[in-house]
Symmetry: C2
DNA sequence: ATGTTGTGGTCTGTCGACAATCCATGGCGT
DNA sequence: ACGCCATGGATTGTCGACAGACCACAACAT
């Protein structure tokens, strides 16, 4: 049986993306790219008017971002892009370290193939050579995403992805001029090599060190460590 | 200055709890206690009528639960209590293990006092002696919560708490008769002892073992590993 | 029989309006 | 000057109604 009702697929299926998701995506990318800086107020009526939708989808979209940890609500007062404290940044990176170490452990246990990691290392080297910061960022994210994916752990992946949203935001707010692209790129191949050799201790140590290096970088320039509100 | 406007606090502050939060709490406790079993459909209109509120707060409440990972939405079809797969249960416990090991590491680094842990160990022993399953559950949660809190890491705590929601649900769905209260209670004091002695390896090993024991317990009785929907 | 096409019911998705709350500002009495 | 209450504007919280999408079932044609 199973009478192949639908052959390969000649046309793309039309997706029905709810407004709240479109709104959420739009706002999220604005936050992650740094166009909406931490502390910025998000006013429902204003956004609703700007985007030509009613307030309901806006509210639900903002709630989605709240669960992403990018927005916070103060009852009857307003919603705003969550300010980043130095402590939060540090905690974010330390948790990321734990996630990636866990991924490495699982990869070593299952012996998953590391092709994807090699590929991204190459991509990062190319980006560093071309002095292309954006490409490097993309490849870096792809590398770590691949690392997590190889761990074959959906919950870990979801948690990591959620965490990485903030990493993304932090990176966008950093001063990119101060970063050495070649340093970043060269950090990764040794990790893959250690995994390849099944040297757990070394792989873990490298990942920890790599994460801590990133965390230590320029911790103060974009952070708002002030009263609940402001200037 | 700082003219102490509000002395200690004689009466509880009047909190304005939004309906969505009340609804979310109500539904959450129903899910966590097992009264709403995985797979149960949540119909907005029905809930709205039952609780005498409009659909908007219900929708937002359900979204909160969705971010808690307790509910899932299928567009234009319905929302339902997320079914638990064996894989999810295993992943949940393995992530919890990583969280608690991280907490132990941090506690050992900072040398935080362990009073709270001792207290909960005692509470668990009492509960086991009195054959009081509910009290044991409470004390067990309090123990692990204290462990996480001592790590002094807000993000870790938030992640752990979110994860523990599912643990709570899983425990509620288990067959409590099959569990030996004394075994559970006796698992914890050695962990505290190892922490006290600053024996990192042993503490971590004990925590891992403890978590894995729980995870291995009765993995099939309440799980729905079936097609996307149905009976 | 088998496949197709309506059709009705049951949900969720979206909207616009109204109510509740909070905050800042300014008037008023002392 | 100082403190207190009223008032107004801004923003979120809640509501009820309508529109859109999907599913199941039945009627029909082949």
């Amino acid at each position: 049986m199973t009478p192949v009702k639908a052959p390969p697929a000649f046309v793309a299926p039309i997706e029905n993306v709810p407004l709240r998701v479109q709104v959420a995506n739009s706002l999220r990318s604005a936050i992650l790219s740094g166009r909406l800086r931490p502390g910025t107020q998000l006013v429902e009526t204003a956004l609703a008017e700007q985007m030509n939708v009613s307030r309901a989808p806006i509210r639900e979209a903002i709630q989605i971002l709240e669960n992403d940890g990018l927005v916070e609500t103060i009852a009857y007062k307003g919603k705003r892009v969550k300010p980043l404290t130095a402590r939060e940044v540090a905690e974010t990176y330390s948790l990321r370290e734990v996630f990636e170490v866990m991924a490495a452990r699982r990869i070593l246990e299952t012996g998953a193939p590391l092709d994807a990691l090699h590929a991204q290392c190459a991509a990062m080297a190319d980006a560093a050579e071309a002095d292309d910061y954006d490409a490097l960022t993309v490849a870096d994210k792809a590398f770590h995403h691949a690392l997590i994916r190889l761990a074959d752990h959906d919950l870990l992946q979801a948690s990591w992805q959620n965490l990485y949203l903030r990493i993304h935001q932090i990176m966008a707010l950093r001063n990119r001029d101060e970063q050495n692209l070649h340093d970043i790129a060269s950090n990764h191949p040794p990790i893959v090599a250690a995994l390849e050799k099944r040297d757990a201790d070394r792989a873990i140590a490298l990942i920890s060190e790599h994460t801590r290096t990133l965390a230590a970088f320029d911790p103060a320039s974009f952070v708002n460590d002030l009263q609940p509100d402001d200037p």
